[in-house]
């Protein structure tokens, strides 16, 4: 058994298939992955911790289980997680300096446990924006994650290491979190497939929160098939996340090849076409063209939805960190510190109105989904920005870059809709840009089927960056 030269570009499905078939051993995959991490990580700064010893032990266990006839859907698949996931034996950093003082986690987060039980092998924790309040991938404590497709540019955040690790081929699958866009933004900037499931779908137990009423977890990968494979394994209620919904499992992998037949697909107009650079709109149009989607629908009050998510985020985040931001503000990253400080000052009536508006917006979107099954929208208004960018100009308006990278992701996660971000490479472009494939609540299968179809016909792709 030997590891192929193109291990870096192997998908999770490909690796699992080879390990299950006995043509590749999980230990060899783990060793080769560790070697690649050693080479690549110093270039992109994705990993905060590499759990080498654990990975080799887990991989040996997988090989033994496979040889005993165990049916492991993720046999030998290397993966890594944003460092807000609890990893047994490590403090859960959540991108901060303060959490380095925390005691080590006693057990893994639920989703790590589900993946390893399915045969996946954890390689370590990944950098992120401090306390997930970030769209850039920049971090004053741990250094910036660099975009593998252009090292002078941002990865996007806050799941920055999750983007860099998958795009650079260190691992085929990573886990991230998405409160306002933190899976979809790095997917767009780093050219990956990213799944933000329906709010309440996956257990968040064992992860460090940011905004409880908006926090989601999900995978990033280099194929829609891998997203589906991993998503199916991670489903199931664990009783430890107060907002996880007790829904039936939704097997998506077996539905991927159903294609897009029967799905009514439309393009989001209005707000979603106003403050975008031409590349973002061209990417949506390319995807829409490939899907034969000609209808454009307006999503009323999307700007208000985004504003309401903004208000809820700053206050809920500040509430979570109130003691820390009061007692030790100098230990925060300046870029998050000043936002958390401001969040302590938000009147409660503003926040409650935003939560009530959320109900209105959800009801309105329910009505829209009576007429369509999938909505396409840009993931980010532009390609990955140069590192250090502080302001952007969109639609003639100059605004701070950091909070506005998520203009198009924020109204969607506001009401918990499932989304797959798909990576588009426009003709002649040196960088990818993402498109959101948005589905009704609890229909991740719709978005994954569309993403898979787009991948099959070559409209979207996630090549490993050439470093």
């Amino acid at each position: 058994m030997s590891v192929p030269d193109d291990l870096a570009s192997m998908t999770a499905a490909g690796t699992a298939g080879a390990v299950r078939a006995g043509s590749l051993s999980a230990v060899e995959v783990a060793k080769a992955t560790l070697e690649r991490i050693e080479t690549i990580n110093p270039v992109v700064n994705a990993f905060s911790d590499v759990t080498a010893e654990r990975a080799l032990a887990e991989a040996a266990g997988v090989d033994e289980a496979v040889s005993s006839g165990a049916d492991l859907p993720l046999a030998g698949v290397p993966f890594a997680v944003k460092n807000l996931f609890d990893i047994e034996g490590l403090p859960t950093l959540a991108g901060s300096k303060i959490n380095r003082e925390h005691t080590a986690a006693k057990t893994d987060a639920t989703l790590i446990r589900k993946l390893t039980q399915a045969g996946a092998v954890l390689m370590g924790g990944l950098h992120m924006g401090e306390y997930a309040y970030d769209f850039t991938g920049e971090n004053a404590h741990h250094g910036n994650c660099l975009n593998p497709h252009d090292l002078t540019r941002m990865t996007g955040g806050s799941s920055s290491g999750s983007g860099a690790a998958a795009a650079s081929g260190m691992v085929p699958v990573t886990l991230g979190s998405d409160t306002n866009g933190s899976i979809r933004v790095p997917s767009s900037f780093c050219g990956l497939f990213g799944l933000k499931p329906t709010y309440g779908r996956l257990s968040r137990h064992g992860t460090f929160p940011f905004v409880g009423s908006l926090d989601h977890l999900g995978p990033l990968a280099r194929s829609a098939e891998d997203l589906s494979l991993v998503f199916d394994v991670m489903q199931g209620i664990d009783g430890s996340d107060p907002v996880q919904a007790d829904r039936p499992l939704l097997p998506t992998f077996e539905k991927l090849n159903e294609g897009i037949g029967g799905l009514r697909i439309a393009v989001a107009g209005g707000y979603f076409r106003e403050k975008a650079e031409p590349a973002a709109l061209a990417a949506v149009d390319k995807v829409a063209g490939a899907l034969g989607a000609t209808a454009e629908i307006d999503i009323p009050e999307a700007a208000r939805a985004r504003a309401a998510a903004y208000v809820i985020t700053v206050m809920e985040g500040a509430n979570l960190h109130l003691e820390r931001i009061t007692k030790r503000p100098r230990d925060f990253d300046p870029d998050t510190r000043d936002r958390f400080l401001s969040g302590t000052m938000v009147p409660g009536v503003w926040v409650q109105q935003a939560q009530r508006f959320r109900s209105w917006f959800r009801s309105m979107m329910h009505k829209i989904f009576e007429h369509v099954d999938v909505i396409l929208a840009p993931a980010t208004p532009f390609h990955a920005l140069p590192s250090g960018t502080k302001t952007i100009t969109l639609g003639g308006e100059t605004m701070p870059a950091r909070p506005n990278i998520g203009l198009f992701t924020q109204p969607v996660s506001f009401i918990g809709l499932p989304v797959v971000a798909v990576p588009v490479w426009l003709d002649g472009a040196d960088l990818p840009i993402g498109v959101q494939v948005i589905a009704p609540a609890w229909r991740e299968d719709f978005a994954l089927r569309v993403a898979h179809q787009l991948e099959l016909d070559g409209t979207v792709k996630a090549p490993v960056a050439q470093l």
């Binding site: 329906t198 709010y199 309440g200 009423s213 908006l214 907002v243 919904a245 009050e301 700007a303 208000r304 504003a307 309401a308 903004y310 208000v311 700053v314 931001i325 009061t326 503000p329 100098r330 300046p334 510190r337 000043d338 936002r339 400080l341 401001s342 969040g343 302590t344 000052m345 938000v346 009147p347 503003w350 409650q352 109105q353 935003a354 939560q355 009530r356 508006f357 959320r358 109900s359 209105w360 959800r362 979107m365 329910h366 701070p400 909070p403 009401i415 918990g416 809709l417 009704p440 609540a441 609890w442």
Partner: protein, 61 residues
């Protein structure tokens, strides 16, 4: 909201009330952030909601 939002005055009042530390070079940024939040809140508050629209206890779509 009535009148113009005075971010400086709001920050000066709230930092004392909550017991925050805001150094001089942070202050303009904190003020800019609360001003941005006020602007967002104003947009939300200007939307008429019926009295029976409640915050959802569960936020799934």
């Amino acid at each position: 909201m009535s009148g113009e939002f005075d971010a400086k005055a709001h920050v000066a009042h709230m930092e004392k009330m909550i017991g925050l530390t805001i150094e001089d070079d942070w202050r303009p940024v904190v003020e800019a952030h609360i001003a941005a939040t006020q602007k967002a809140a104003e947009l939300v508050l200007s939307f008429p909601l019926e009295d029976d629209v409640e915050a959802a206890p569960v936020f799934e779509a």
